[in-house]
């Protein structure tokens, strides 16, 4: 095969305003045969309208069952550079904060041991090293651990926990997302690296109901910041919003889902007992309004993408829990959830599907929670109640 890289179809993706991954990958093609053959195989995919990858399920680093995704080209003779093209998931930092020094060190490792391609970041949160051969997995692992990094999760394990910036750079943070993420990632290294569950278990931490990590849609367990007391109001700043011509009536008062805001002159009044913490008023007037002081988290369980039983959002299991170091109440709850799911869940059954199959009542009994109306939108509207207590004739006195 000629050494020249001809990619007429991909070249079309070098046009346009959005940053071009093709231009970027081509800049690596001189350095890396893997990237060169990746572009060639991708060009073939663009021509044939199909992918050419095979899944590899056995590659990994010694002792771990997670953190490496095996991938092989289906056309190794044609594209030997990507005959093996495995992925390593490097556990990202809390809130995806880095220094250029740390990233440069990781890149030096990856340029030496792999393709030099990355995902910043994967859907679960990891920093992804994209593309290397089986023999380089262990040396790459050694090199990253030398620099103080470790692999993230994959398979039927605790997936790499991830979180929003939280208190690092957000006034809405109702708990320390960064600290909790660090805490559980370290506490549950065994669950992260050695798959022991029925299926994957993702945990995401968002500091407030704006939910920047999409915990309610994308994590088996969402830990989402919330407050119980009153929204803090700065009336002087509120008056400034009114004076600036901002249409408070239309854009804030009328948008409130529970209609708990009223304005008298240049003063805002909030019926906090009726506020559902949707964040809209706080988002629109960040100088005047702020989350309350009595803060904690709500815990949701069960979000997942469609396959197999259909997509699910997480639903509220705990409407409010204090969340402060050393986080023991949370560890305890998580332990009970895993224990029950482990015992009664089926192979490949996500926690959300498990709850739907056995019923919420059975599930909360199994993990030791009491039924409360905050867990549901409404009580049941069908009469098929399976009573567990009823009188027997001889007892009827």
């Amino acid at each position: 095969m000629s050494d020249e890289l001809k990619t007429p179809l991909l070249d079309e993706l070098e046009k346009g305003a959005w940053p071009s991954f093709v231009t970027d990958l081509k800049s690596m093609a001189g350095k890396s045969n893997m990237v060169k053959d990746l572009l060639r195989q991708l060009e073939k995919s663009y021509r044939d309208k199909r992918g050419y990858w095979k899944h590899g399920g056995l590659v990994g680093v010694m002792g771990y069952g997670g953190g490496v995704i095996g991938r092989y080209s289906a056309l190794p003779d044609e594209f030997p550079g990507v005959s093996h093209f495995h992925t390593l998931r490097i556990n990202q930092t809390s809130g995806w904060f880095y220094t250029s020094k740390a990233l440069n060190e990781l890149m030096d490792i990856w340029d030496e041991h792999g393709s030099g391609l990355l995902n910043m970041h994967g859907s679960t949160g990891d920093l992804v090293f994209l593309g290397t051969v089986s023999d380089e997995l262990e040396p790459t692992f050694r090199a990253v651990t030398e620099k103080g990094w470790d692999l993230g999760g994959s398979g039927s394990d605790l997936r790499t926990p991830s979180c929003c910036v939280g208190p690092a750079r957000c006034e809405n943070a109702c708990f320390d997302t960064m600290a909790l993420t660090y805490n559980i990632t370290h506490k549950y290294q065994d669950e992260l690296h050695r798959p022991m569950f029925n299926y994957k278990y993702k945990i995401k931490m968002s500091g407030c109901p704006n939910d920047c990590t999409a915990a309610i849609a994308r994590s088996d367990m969402g830990v989402i910041g919330i407050w119980k007391d009153d929204i803090r109001v700065n009336q002087a700043e509120f008056a400034n919003y009114v004076d600036s011509g901002f249409n408070v009536q239309e854009f804030v008062v009328e948008k409130c889902p529970t209609k708990c805001i009223s304005v008298e002159g240049k003063e805002i009044k909030i019926d906090n007992s009726n506020c559902v913490k949707c964040m809209h008023c706080i988002n629109t007037m960040p100088k005047a309004l702020a989350v309350g002081k009595d803060r904690g988290v709500a815990i949701t369980l069960g979000a997942k993408a469609p396959i197999v039983e259909g997509a699910l959002f997480g639903s509220v299991m705990v409407p409010f829990m204090k969340m402060e170091p050393p986080f023991e109440e949370f560890h305890d709850l998580l332990g009970r959830i895993w224990e029950f799911w482990d015992e009664y869940g089926k192979n490949r059954e996500r926690i959300g599907e498990f709850i739907v199959r056995i019923g919420l009542a059975t599930f909360i009994e199994g993990i030791g929670l009491d039924p409360i109306p905050q867990m549901v939108k409404q009580p049941r509207d069908n009469p098929y109640i399976f009573f567990e207590e009823y009188y027997k004739e001889e007892e009827e006195k």
Binding site: L10, G16, W18, P19, D24, L25, L42, D48, K49, Y52, W53, H55, Y64, A74, F85, T87, T93, W96, T99, A102, L103, N104, L117, N119, M120, H121, S123, L130, P139, R142, T145, E146, G148, W149, D150, C164, P167, A168, R169, C170, E171, T185, Q189, D190, N210, D211, A217, C256, P257, C278, N283, T284, P286, K287, A305, P306, I307, V308, E309, A311
Partner: protein
């Protein structure tokens, strides 16, 4: 290479504190408010009066060390070496000095990317691996993001939409990038079950394992001309590609039939209305690489109608709920078909069980 040192395991990620800008460390948990100074530029103000400036840049997510070294170089030059990534794969530079904002933006643009993605904008597009790395993809992901955002780049670099707009691309129903709660989702679809290579299957695959791999029990053992193989119950197959994962003789890719579908109206945050799933608007568009013109024009049409018709602070789904789905199909000119009618579990909850239609 270090071979003399002890092999380390289970050390976990490094502590985040060493990666925090000194201003962030000093004001951790003590932020007062933030403002958007212009598209892609934020200032966070602490109770102490300290300020940290953020400049947000687009990233294709699939990047090389060449690109990332350019970014770390800019972080060194303008941001004391501090940068982070958002949950939508934007790059954020954290600046102490306001005067560095404009020179940094100029250098970011020179490095081939854009600044924006804040407030009433389209933020970076979350997406999956596609033909670049995935065995079950029905389409490419990076290429689709590129062509869609080439059309819509002006909505990334400005803040002229009624509210924020979140686009996501997933290359098959496994949805590694969970697109089921985005304002607009482009979702790769297979339309045919795996093609069984009966000649090679007995040699390449363990039959019990292949049978067990199907999450929906659609695969059964059978024999053809005396050779053990498998058959697929096509009614039950949902095109997840899991069987292809264990059995290379069951490729799911079908160039003639694979393509993309378009979904709208999902949201995740709790602001005003509850989180919502996306709903189907276009069941199938054939793959037409390299630039998928039918997909880009469909997405652009929806975005422009939303920009024109939605009220301030209305997300896509909130706008559609206000005007009603019939009006949405009317406005967009998208054909409503039998595929839009749900026939999975709980389908009944999607039927119109009132007379509240607009005429």
């Amino acid at each position: 290479m270090s071979t003399t040192t002890e092999r380390k395991t289970d050390i976990g990620p490094p502590h985040y504190e060493q990666f925090l800008h000194p201003i962030i460390k000093a004001n951790y948990g003590k932020w007062k408010y933030h403002e958007t100074l212009k598209p892609g530029v934020l200032v966070h103000v602490a109770e102490s009066g300290d300020k940290i400036f953020t400049v947000r840049a687009a990233s294709p997510r699939l990047i090389s060390t060449n690109f990332l070294r350019k970014m770390t170089g800019l972080a060194d030059k303008y941001a004391d070496g501090y940068l982070r990534f958002t949950s939508r794969n934007n790059i954020e530079f954290l600046l102490a000095n306001k005067d560095n904002i404009d020179p940094l933006i100029k250098d970011i643009n020179a490095a081939g990317t854009l600044v924006g993605g804040t407030n009433n904008a389209i933020s970076n597009v979350i997406h999956t691996q596609g033909w670049v790395h995935c065995h079950s993809s029905a389409t490419d992901a990076s290429g689709l993001v590129k062509v869609v955002m080439d059309e819509l780049a002006e909505y990334f670099t400005s803040m002229k939409l009624p509210h924020k707009l979140r686009i996501a691309v997933a290359c098959c129903l496994n949805m590694c990038g969970a697109v089921h709660a985005s304002d607009i989702a482009v979702l790769g679809v297979h339309r045919t079950p795996p093609h069984i290579d009966h000649k090679n299957l007995p040699n390449q695959c363990e039959i019990p394992t292949t049978v067990a791999s199907c999450p929906n029990n659609a695969i059964r053992p059978t024999s053809i001309e005396g050779r053990a193989t498998v058959k697929v119950d096509e009614e039950k197959c949902m095109y997840c590609g899991n069987c292809f994962g264990v059995c290379p003789a069951m490729p799911i890719a079908d160039p003639l039939n694979d393509g993309v579908s378009i979904w709208v109206g999902g949201k995740i945050c709790n602001a005003r209305t509850e989180p919502m799933f996306t709903k189907l608007v276009i069941p199938y568009i054939p793959n037409n690489p390299p630039r998928w013109p039918e997909v880009t024009s469909a997405v652009k049409n929806i975005v422009e109608l939303y920009a024109k018709n939605a009220k301030p602070y209305e997300r896509m789904g909130e706008w559609i709920n206000r005007i009603g789905w019939p009006k949405f199909f009317d406005l967009t000119g998208i054909e409503f078909t039998k595929y839009h009618l749900d026939d999975f579990k709980h389908a009944g909850t999607t039927y119109r069980r009132s007379l509240q239609n607009r005429y």
